[in-house]
């Protein structure tokens, strides 16, 4: 006669598991930090060197700000956004394609735990890369932090939104080609056309208005506000647009996780 093993206790459900998944996601990108941190920092520095060299003498922004100084916060925020997206999207698509996502699917983690862990780790990677870009580029031009709280708020919200968007892309894509399409035809154009390299005030009227439809523009403009104390639009407008965008994207990501979209058939 065997003795029965009882049902395990349910204490600490969800949150403990989310902490482990969060740590695992951090460890995952940190183990390949040359690729996930050092490489994007180098790319941003190259952008600064090339664009700064070509345009420094020809462009001045907000009346008195040097072009290279103007460019640095844009590059920092672009790096934050692109790397936050890359973290959750690449982790999910790799796990799906190699099949090791099964180890997570059989756990008691709730959809909220998945969201918090994946998006949290994406934010960490985005902010680490952004900080790396800032620490390296800040020596190339004078820079001040006039209203640093704005920079912090937009960096956090932007990283959170792109981490959530990466999660959606990772759930949706079934092959690396689809993921590359999402990244190259949506994320990269939206970040490049969001005023990283220019102030939208320098654009013709139509394109200036078109830029206002891009939520990435508000993230970068709001982030720059923290450095220069001036921006293309009011930081409160940017906060409203970015905040609502984040909530919508997060709600969609949570819904997809809850329904097991392309995870549980």
């Amino acid at each position: 006669m065997t003795r029965a093993i009882s049902t395990p206790a349910s204490g600490g459900l969800g949150l403990d598991g989310a902490r482990t998944l969060f740590r695992k996601e951090i460890l995952r990108f940190w183990k390949v930090a040359f690729q996930t941190v050092a490489a994007p920092v180098l790319t941003a520095v190259l952008y600064l060197l090339i664009f700064g060299h070509v345009l420094e003498e020809h462009v001045q922004v907000y009346g008195q700000v040097r072009y290279t100084s103007f460019l640095i916060p844009g590059l920092v925020m672009m790096s934050v956004l692109q790397n936050a997206f890359a973290n959750s999207s690449s982790s999910l698509i790799q796990s799906k394609i190699t099949g090791n996502l099964v180890f997570l699917l059989v756990t008691p983690l709730s959809h909220r735990a998945w969201f918090v862990a994946y998006v949290g780790a994406s934010m960490v990677r985005g902010l680490v890369v952004g900080l790396g870009v800032l620490l390296v580029t800040m020596w190339f031009a004078p820079l001040s932090l006039a209203q640093p709280l704005w920079s912090l708020v937009f960096a956090l919200l932007g990283a959170g939104m792109l981490g959530s968007l990466g999660l959606i892309a990772g759930l949706w894509a079934e092959k690396f080609d689809q993921m590359a399409a999402f990244q190259n035809f949506l994320i990269v154009p939206m970040t490049f056309l969001a005023g990283v390299f220019y102030s939208t005030h320098s654009l013709p009227g139509f394109w200036q208005q078109a830029s206002r439809l891009n939520p990435f523009f508000y993230m970068i403009d709001g982030f720059r506000r923290g450095f220069f104390g001036v921006s293309d639009v009011s930081p409160w407008t940017s906060l409203a647009v970015v905040g609502v965008s984040f909530l919508l994207v997060a709600a969609l990501a949570l819904r997809l996780l809850r329904t097991g979209y392309k995870l549980r058939h």
């Binding site: 006669m1 065997t2 003795r3 029965a4 093993i5 009882s6 049902t7 395990p8 349910s10 204490g11 600490g12 459900l13 969800g14 403990d16 598991g17 902490r19 482990t20 998944l21 740590r23 695992k24 460890l27 995952r28 183990k31 390949v32 796990s95 190699t98 099949g99 090791n100 099964v102 180890f103 997570l104 699917l105 059989v106 756990t107 008691p108 983690l109 709730s110 097991g260 549980r264 058939h265």
Partner: protein, 327 residues
């Protein structure tokens, strides 16, 4: 022993939609596995074994019916149901970023269990992985990766262990190590649900067996009853000659080895006479009892299934119905 079944399948169905129409992977599957049982789920490829296990694990959703683990519904009460389950997947998958110990710590952490190194060390020792604890998963051989899959499934000490073809393509040493360890866990009270194509393993390990065919349960009984229920003897011999039609209809041929079922002594005599008459040269002739493989093939080929009484364990309405349908 608790009266709540370790696993309960109630009228489970699964329908996939494809371009060619609906595919019914499971149809009205229903049976219970009592706590502490070593249960074997057998069936040919595509019978629905992995689909049923996927539904149990929450990897797939049933189109109808209900699945419970220790009384917890796998959909509405998934967190507790999954805490009770340790699944060894069929595919050899791993996370290339981590070492064996990191992999096990992470898996343990997903279940909210930290500082679990004493149990992780015991798992590594029992599965012959102690010297690989700090090796990256990419550096391991296929057999070693399979052992890690087993350790991952057991790391949160689940009361129910599900092994989906765990010995497919692994060497004899691992099979023995694995089965010794799993048998020990079963003796300690863990329920084991095993799917395998190695029927001798199922015969040796499982106290009860269910057989799936085209998404339906076609046999469900204690292993001893399934074996006792077959009245067949088996003639086994080697030959290079073609078998006469009257024999080949009842024969299973693997290379030079032929196995022919026979109902009784007269049937054995008739078979030998037919072989003699056809000038078939026979070597290494043996006469033995049918094993689980013979029972399995008889059932899968739509032959007469065993009709022995159920010795113990729950008899579901479906079980009674399938018996009735077969008789």
């Amino acid at each position: 022993m608790s009266s709540i079944p370790a696993v309960s399948f109630q009228n489970v169905s699964k329908i996939y939609s494809s371009a060619r129409g609906e595919v019914r992977a499971l149809q009205g599957v229903g049976f219970d596995i009592p706590q502490g049982e070593f249960f074997g789920l057998l069936g040919p490829n595509g019978a629905g074994k992995t689909t049923l296990i996927s539904i149990l694990a929450g990897l797939s959703r049933a189109s109808g019916g209900q699945v419970r683990v220790h009384g917890h519904d796998v959909v509405s009460d998934y967190a507790l149901a999954r805490r009770c389950l340790g699944i060894v997947p069929q595919e050899l998958v791993f996370d290339p970023f981590f070492s064996v110990r990191e992999t096990l710590r992470i898996q343990s952490g997903y279940f909210g269990i930290h500082r679990n190194d004493a149990w992780i060390d015991e798992l590594l020792h029992n599965l012959g992985l102690a010297d690989k604890a700090n090796a990256n998963m990419r550096q391991l051989s296929g057999g070693m990766k399979r052992r890690v899959l087993v350790a991952q499934a057991l790391v949160h000490r689940p009361p129910v262990i599900v092994l989906d073809e765990p010995t497919a393509g692994v060497d004899v040493e691992l099979r023995q190590t694995l089965w010794q360890f799993i048998a020990r866990l079963n003796k300690e009270g863990h329920t084991v649900l095993l799917t395998t194509h190695y029927l001798e393993e199922a015969e040796a390990l499982c106290s009860r067996i269910g057989m799936l065919k085209q998404g339906r349960i076609v046999a469900l009984d204690r292993t001893a009853n399934l074996l006792a229920g077959t009245a067949h003897s088996m003639l086994r011999f080697k030959t290079d000659d073609p078998l006469p039609a009257s024999v080949s209809a009842r024969a299973r041929v693997t290379g030079r080895i032929a196995q022919v079922s026979a109902h009784d002594a007269q049937d054995v005599e008739r078979t030998l006479s037919a072989l003699h008459a056809a000038n078939v040269r026979v070597e290494d002739l043996e006469i033995g009892r049918a094993d689980l493989e013979d029972v399995f093939l008889a059932i899968m080929q739509g032959g007469t299934p065993p009709a022995a009484p159920v010795e113990a364990g729950p008899v579901t309405a479906l079980q009674s119905a399938t018996r009735g349908a077969r008789s």
